[in-house]
Symmetry: C7
Subunit: 77 residues, 7 copies
């Protein structure tokens, strides 16, 4: 059996335009549509909202997030 | 359908001269007009004020903010 | 006797497609299948779940984790 | 209407010799005259004093401040 | 008398295959056999276990540890 | 009137051999004579002592201080 | 009078083989003989022991310490 490794930036590329969950340093979590990213993992998040549990607690619209603050990006499935 | 990815710096470029919300490490939030930026995401914020909730708590005028302290920039919509 | 040193990225390479435990800064631990990685130790984790002790407390599906937040990766044996 | 973007270092350059407020990581704020700076945003601050609210709490004279510790520089208006 | 300086990576090289104590940021300590390392001081630790005092509190098997999280490596003597 | 900007490293150069106050991350303050420095703002501090208020609380003799830990250097006037 | 500046790495070089005090981020202090170092200020410390006040609280033997964790190195006089 052959395992095909996925590169992290390829996974982000396939998630473009789709809903993602983003975890930030300090524990804040945001959800929105992944509008874009660059090699530093700076992100564009559209229709972004901060969530606590599964509740939206604050709406931001479009956000540019610096990669340095990002812990993870998880595409919705 | 074709999804056109937006590069983070392009989103900042379109926000030049417009109101933005800026989140800093440690949780401080500022609003003002985006006066400029560079590739390190160092920012120029004009008519800047620190906000708590939706209240302005402190006025700064023009600020140069080091990119290293920036978590996100959200253009007003 | 000859000791053959293992390079860190070679160990990750052999773990591709297999279960791993990932420790993050701040103490959070995740388990999942290692889907991919790059030289910055950015990771792709599949079927990821956060664990407390040996209990899964939150399910994420696929995650891209920034290397900067990773403390360790331990392949299951 | 044409918006002319201001580069962060240009804003600092125009503030040379003038009073500025400097915010440091950890929340300390200093005011003084901006005596110089370099591309790392290392600063020279003259007649520097630490402030709490609008009170000077400690006088330093000339300070060289490492850019890595700087959050923002706000020229007085 | 001539003092022969030891380069840090040479000390690690001589410790390959031998027991080491590893201190991480935040104070966690691990022991295991040093399986490998690279110039970033990313480590491979074999038969790794977390210790409190001299007691093993958690067993990990093989770990890849990011150099950025490492404070020290002390070869057993 | 012409304002002559001072580069941060030039200010350090003029302070060589003279008393300085050094502020470190975490709030510790040291005073001593500036014995040398390099472009990373690694410092040599001679006759160094930690101070609390204006009292010397601990004497160190010569110290090499990593620039990464330095917040500011203030030459005595 | 001519002041001869000392470069930080030259001070470390003269301390090779001699007792030093090493301060780490977080406040831990170690003493031992400086066995070696590199340009990142990664250190080799021999006969290393952690100290509280002037008491040795823990003995480590030889340690490789990552420069990123080092705040200062003070040669004994």
């Amino acid at each position: 059996m052959i395992f095909m490794a996925q590169r992290p930036l390829d996974v982000l590329n396939r998630a473009l335009g789709s809903p993602v969950l983003v975890g930030l340093k300090g524990g804040k979590e945001l959800r929105g549509k992944l509008g874009g990213f660059d090699v530093h993992i700076n992100l564009v998040l559209k229709e972004a909202e901060e969530i606590h549990g599964s509740e939206a607690s604050k709406r931001y619209g479009t956000m540019v997030i610096r990669g340095d603050s990002v812990v993870f990006i998880s595409p919705a499935e």
